[in-house]
């Protein structure tokens, strides 16, 4: 049940009871007041009548000494009594003249039948004995009721009574009661409406607004002031609620500030953590790469160890074999054979020497670093070709150095070894090429110089284009060499930050080795005619 209904159910019975009680009292009082007013009116009428009609006639008679003249007295009394008919009362009734003994002397047509009742006679007689004025209500045996006010006129022994029928006043009182009841009900309705209006304005609306504000507070939404200006308890409650809401709002704002600060701190910590994570990830990546490199290198080392042990075992076996043979030869005294076998041992020892030198060289890459310098690759290529001119000439290879090879900052010696190995390989693997040719040149790819060594030799099958850079991996076992050259080349290139790869259209169709030298090349001045060397 709503608060408003509760209050109305509390107030309404009280109001209706109060209205009923007050209305009842008011009606009773009104009826008494009405009767008093009517009696006063009748008293005024009878007083006026007596003074203006009876007393005047009597005075005329007395002043002119006619009060002893029966004809005059009778005539004047008759006129005085008859003049009662001229007195018009507001309500039904009239002036009735009795003798002091209660005999009816005069009454108008309306009152004559009623005034002859014995009750009037007794009333007038008793009243005349008691006082010169009398008034009240008289109810006859037939139920008719009258209000009357009488006055004695002693000189003539008259009792003059102004009488009105009570019925109009009973009706008026009933009408007043009904009107009062109606007004009371209307008043109650208006009062209830007013109370409802007042309740809604003074109580319900602030409470609803406080409830809405409380809901908003609960929902963490902005809360406006309730705005109650009254000085009553509701107003005080609303103002205190406003104060509380403001305090909550301030607390919420402080909390939000703290939250934002905390979020910023968390974000900063998160950023730092992310940075640390990134660093750690990078380090992990680096470590992973390093681990991968280590694995590669470990694998390479295992393969190297295996290869070295295998390749070194072969000359050792050769040496030990021929040493046994040589011992047998010596026992047999075949010195010619010994010499030959000693040559074989020597070649095996040389092979071991070469192999060990290559390994030593390979191990020095990355450990022994020469100073980086600006190196004109075209000049360096020319030096390499000059260095290999004997073998080139022996094989009848045409070597072309395309102009435009860049000048780069690099380890001159190592890069020279790269070019030397690549040119040696190209000359070495010409196969049956009737017009062997090698071309050294450079091109620009993505702003980076790419140096190439191209031949028209035996070419490289697709499955070997990567393997050829592994250590001790030889395409043609019949060819002299240790199988360390291209591994050495790749190691030098990668040590410079570059990369190397091989391209071939297939076996017998030549091959091209490309390599870059990484960022070091960019540091060197670029030959202004570089693009013109593009092939």
């Amino acid at each position: 049940m709503k608060l408003q209904t509760k209050i109305l159910l509390t107030i309404l019975p009280v109001v209706l009871t109060a209205i009923g009680v007050l209305g009842g009292l008011s009606i009773r009082r009104h009826r008494a007041t009405l009767q008093d007013a009517v009696l006063q009116y009748l008293d005024g009428v009878v007083t006026t009548y007596v003074s203006q009609h009876i007393a005047d006639q009597h005075r005329l008679l007395a002043d002119h000494r006619l009060d002893a003249v029966p004809s005059y007295v009778t005539r004047y009394q008759d006129e005085a009594a008859a003049s009662a008919a001229d007195v018009e009362l507001i309500w039904e009734g009239g002036i009735v003249v009795f003798s002091r003994a209660g005999d009816l002397l005069h009454a108008n047509e309306e009152m004559a039948p009623l005034a002859g009742a014995p009750k009037w006679r007794r009333l007038v007689r008793q009243a005349a004995e008691a006082d010169d004025r009398f008034s009240g209500r008289l109810t006859l045996n037939d139920g008719s009721s009258f209000l009357y006010s009488g006055k004695l006129f002693d000189p003539w022994q008259w009792a003059v009574v102004a009488v009105v029928q009570d019925a109009p006043f009973v009706a008026a009182a009933r009408h007043t009661r009904n009107a009062t009841l109606f007004v009371a009900l209307i008043s109650a309705a208006v009062l209830v409406a007013c109370l409802t209006l007042v309740f809604q304005n003074l109580v319900k609306r602030p409470l609803v607004r406080m409830r809405q504000a409380a809901d908003a507070l609960a929902a963490r939404q902005p809360v406006g002031p309730i705005g109650a200006s009254s000085g009553d308890e509701i107003g005080q409650l609303a103002r205190r609620f406003d104060s509380m809401a403001r305090e909550v709002e301030r607390s919420r704002q402080r909390l939000e500030t703290w939250n934002e600060d905390l979020q910023e701190a968390v974000a900063a910590q998160t950023t730092a953590l992310d940075d640390a994570n990134a660093r750690l990830a990078r380090e992990i990546d680096e470590k992973t790469i390093m681990l991968s490199d280590l694995e590669v290198k470990n694998s390479e080392l295992e393969r190297f160890v295996y290869t070295v042990s295998h390749d070194l075992r072969s000359p050792i076996i050769t040496i030990r074999g021929f040493l046994g043979v040589m011992a047998e030869d010596l026992e047999r005294g075949s010195l010619g054979q010994v010499k030959d076998h000693m040559g074989r041992v020597d070649r095996a020892a040389r092979t071991m020497q070469t192999l060990l030198d290559s390994l030593l060289e390979l191990s020095r890459i990355g450990r022994v670093v020469n100073a980086s310098e600006a190196v004109n690759l075209e000049a360096l290529a020319a030096d390499v070709v000059e260095l290999l001119s004997q073998s080139i000439a022996d094989r009848g290879v045409s070597v072309t150095i395309r102009p435009g090879l860049p000048t780069v900052r690099c380890d001159r010696q190592r890069v020279g070894e790269v070019l030397q190995n690549l040119v040696e390989n190209a000359v070495k693997f010409m196969g049956d090429q009737p017009a062997p040719a090698v071309e050294i040149g450079a091109r620009i790819r993505n702003g980076e110089p790419v140096i190439y060594v191209r031949d028209n030799g035996i070419g490289i099958a697709e499955g070997y284009r990567e393997k050829i850079f592994d250590m001790f991996h030889q395409l043609d076992a019949g060819q002299p060499g240790t199988g360390v050259g291209l591994a050495l080349v790749r190691r030098i290139v990668e040590h410079h930050g570059g990369s190397i790869w091989a391209a071939s259209d297939g076996p017998g169709r030549g091959s091209t080795f490309f390599f870059t030298l990484g960022a070091a090349a960019a540091a060197a001045p670029t030959d202004p005619e570089e693009d013109t060397h593009e092939r």
């Binding site: 006639q57 005329l60 002119h64 005059y72 006129e79």
Partner: protein, 343 residues
């Protein structure tokens, strides 16, 4: 030349001063001519209260008003000649007349002069030729007040009294009057009113009017002769209006007969023995005429003033006569009589 010019200037100033002074005098002193028809109470009393009210209004003889009183002694010729003489001595600002003869004389003398005429104590101004109608503005230089006799009231009062003494048949009332115009008019109107009633019969008899007071005795002798003739035919006497009814000898002659006077023309006649009278109040009438005179003297056009009846009247009763005749005077009549109740 210079001397002549100075003299002309002085003369012009003197003339202007004379004109201004003359105007001031004329404005301060107004001439009122009062013409009294004859020395009877109704005339003398009206004139007296008129002059008293004029004094109260600030008009004092010889100071702010030049009051000229003409006593006509019942003679229209005297009234006319005296009035002409007064006008010849100086144009009056107003002529006030009391009673019919004087009023007729003033009306005739002042016709065409523009001199305002204010009449009073004229019972029949239309019949007297003074105005064309009453109760409306006259539109002429003549106005005044009707000396109304309240004839209907009189007849009602008298009938109520007379019926007590003469029950069962019409009351016969004798009226011996002179040939004076107002008397003739009065009896004529009373007879007309009585004709409309079944219970009153007027028996009128006229005697020649003779200028009073010289001709009074002659008229009284004529009246006495008529009384002998009519006494057996009437129940009561009625004193008519006019000069004859104003004088006490006429009342005494009537009272000397065996027929009572049921209506006297004056309060004095009631005091002498007549049963009842109803007359306009002299004081009120005189003062009212004075207020009208004041208005006219202050510029009000007399033609804009309607001729109306007096506003106050007196009732007088003689209780001794009533008791002797066995007549009960009704309380209302007795009350109206007030102090004018005689025995």
């Amino acid at each position: 030349m210079r001397s002549i010019s100075w003299q002309m200037t002085a003369a012009a100033w003197a003339l202007a001063a004379a004109i201004v002074l003359s105007a001031v005098d004329a404005g301060a002193m107004q001439t009122v001519v009062v013409v009294e028809t004859m020395p009877v109470p109704v005339v003398l009393e009206h004139s007296r209260w008129f002059q008293d009210e004029m004094r109260r209004l600030g008009y004092t003889h010889g100071n702010t008003m030049n009051l000229i009183t003409i006593e006509a002694h019942g003679s229209r010729e005297v009234a006319e000649s005296e009035l002409k003489a007064a006008i010849a001595r100086g144009r009056p600002d107003l002529v006030v007349t009391f009673a019919t003869l004087a009023s007729q004389a003033a009306h005739r003398v002042c016709r065409g002069t523009g001199i305002p005429v204010l009449f009073a104590v004229v019972s029949d101004p239309v019949g007297a030729g003074l105005v064309e109608a009453t109760h409306r503005p006259t539109g002429t230089h003549v106005t005044g007040r009707v000396y109304t006799h309240f004839r209907t009231v009189k007849l009602d009062l008298v009938r109520e009294l007379a019926r007590q003494a003469v029950p069962g048949r019409p009351v016969r009332i004798g009226c011996i009057h002179s040939s004076y115009p107002s008397a003739q008019g009065d009896i004529r109107r009373l007879s007309t009113l009585a004709d409309a009633r079944d219970d009153i019969v007027f028996v009128g008899h006229e005697v020649p009017y003779r200028e009073m007071p010289a001709g009074l005795d002659t008229m009284l002798a004529d009246v006495a002769a008529v009384i002998e003739k009519l006494a057996d035919e009437v129940d009561f006497w009625w004193q008519p209006a006019g000069p004859l009814g104003e004088v006490m000898p006429y009342t005494k002659v009537l009272l000397g007969s065996r027929v009572p006077i049921i209506y006297g023309n004056t309060v004095a006649s009631v005091r002498a023995g007549a049963l009842l009278t109803v007359t306009p109040n002299f004081e009120h009438g005189g003062r009212e005429v004075a207020r009208l005179a004041d208005a006219i003297l202050n510029g009000t056009d007399p033609g804009a003033i309607p001729v109306t009846a007096p506003e106050a009247f007196d009732v007088a009763v003689n209780l001794g006569t009533a008791l002797r005749l066995g007549i009960v005077v009704p309380p209302a009549t007795l009350s109206m009589a007030g102090q004018r109740v005689y025995r």
